[in-house]
């Protein structure tokens, strides 16, 4: 299995357009050791071609152009066979509207995520220009589905969705009831039996998540925030990590502690918010996560399992 991180940042990217925090300001001015990151999209392939996207961030066009394996090979073509959505947040989904251009798409999502993106969204009609422009395939917790081809006999990648503690996307808060399938992680396996546990967003770690992750060859996990009060303390935003359904990395109940004993060879943090101190390559927090065996994902990173 080939894994390519097309974008490793949380919503807003790094730097974020309206943010002059020490991280964003330092990155722009070149005064800190850090690299820019676009919003979270991951490409997977079981056998070099075709590719599957896990989520589809707003910067998908530039992300595709930065990775030749995703370039078209005919006047109208794309090696992207399917797109899997793990939740309905705009930083994970908005790029779908940039993949219009009269191209047939296959999108896999839970019923709640599909409904939240399609219903009451007039902009979505740009993906309804012709019958069958988008083929939706439904993700159901615990049921394995083929990813890169609807026929399991022809697929090279398969995924089992695992519910994660989450919340409805911001644009549906207060409008949609919380549902168990509003956010999922994926256990992806290839034909050689290699397994990737992809949990780019998670508000906590359930026993079922732990059981599903255990023994995976690689884990991609929510690295949005270092601490609960990362936004509130400097006065950037009056919301705690838990309210935004992101388990912080640090602390006794953080992901670093909770996943310390997990038997997984490679562990990567993605969906990293611009305020997160692990973005500083020479910082103490970066040293701590690396000492604990984690990699801080960045755009363009590739892993072969």
């Amino acid at each position: 299995m080939l894994i390519r991180i097309l974008g490793a940042a949380a919503g807003g990217g790094f730097p974020q357009w309206n943010c002059g925090c020490p991280n964003c300001d330092g990155l722009r001015r070149g005064t800190i050791r850090a690299r820019p990151r676009s919003q979270v999209t991951i490409a997977l392939s079981g056998d070099a071609d075709p590719w599957v996207l896990v989520n589809c961030g707003p910067e998908i066009r530039a992300q595709i152009e930065a990775f030749p394996a995703l370039w078209p090979r005919a006047p109208r073509h794309s090696p992207i066979a399917a797109i899997v959505l793990t939740c309905g947040d705009l930083d994970h989904t908005l790029g779908l509207l940039s993949l219009r251009e009269n191209h047939p798409l296959t999108v896999l999502a839970t019923e709640t995520v599909r409904h939240g993106f399609v219903e009451g969204n007039a902009l979505y009609r740009t993906l309804e220009r012709f019958p069958g422009q988008v083929t939706w395939r439904t993700l159901v917790a615990g049921l394995e589905v083929p990813l890169d081809h609807p026929d399991p006999a022809q697929a090279t990648l398969f995924a089992t969705p695992v519910p994660v503690p989450g919340k409805p996307p911001v644009h549906l808060e207060g409008r949609a009831p919380a549902r168990e399938d509003q956010a999922v992680g994926l256990i992806v396996r290839d034909l050689q039996g290699r397994r990737l546990a992809a949990f780019p967003g998670a508000g906590g770690i359930t026993p079922a998540m732990r059981a599903a992750m255990a023994g995976a060859d690689a884990l991609i996990f929510d690295g949005t925030f270092w601490s609960e009060d990362e936004l509130a303390r400097p006065g950037l935003m009056d919301r705690r990590a838990a309210e935004m359904a992101h388990l912080p990395i640090d602390g006794p109940a953080g992901s670093l502690a909770l996943l310390a004993d997990l038997a997984v060879a490679r562990k990567l943090f993605v969906h990293i918010n611009n305020t997160n101190p692990i973005l500083r390559e020479d910082g103490a927090e970066r040293a701590r996560v690396e000492a604990a065996g984690w990699t801080v994902a960045e755009d363009g990173m590739e892993i072969a399992l």
Copy 2:
């Protein structure tokens, strides 16, 4: 007045994610003389600061980061005072949803364009997180409005909207009746009396448009297609330029002929589709438009009037 072209391409950008036409393929492989372009957004300033965006394409985040004048100067800040929408097409508007992050925005649009973006668009609620997150100001044909400040006494840029032959955006086709204010051009003036005629999308040239453009210090005009059948001839898409409300450049009724006698010092084509032969820097079509006094806009180009 300072004019900065943040993006010069039509919807899909150049190259376009699913397009392997000779232009896109040649650009990716470095076998043609051409430069990449992101989707159309233009920044204007009357006095260095603040800035006004004309339209807001899907790639707005990268476009802001590529232009230091648009960087924030405080932990939460943006020098972008307002965004003017000339139509409701997604390549001109989708970037608004990437300017969320709890930031107050001022958006100027006609009633039809505002309605088309806001109504029935669940995603728009991400811009309704707090009261007054977006302040809409209404553009009315023929009525001059201050751009960079609501108080005319404090503004340095003013715009008069001029209706252009257009059509509803793709996602509203067949749902919204055609209205005169569904697409406009802008006559922008600064305090020194310099004038920019900005018509990034136009399905034709009316006498009122000609009268408004005449004598401007610069003209930015729809350069989407070279010819009527540019998409249909190579079989890329079964639609003519006229059906897409874009006046082609070439031909006896094209913009090159119709605007040949217009008294404007600087003329730029923007919103250039990936199939347009004027993108080839050493091509015959590029030579023709340049010989006629036109510039083919590219990302990062700046003009001071």
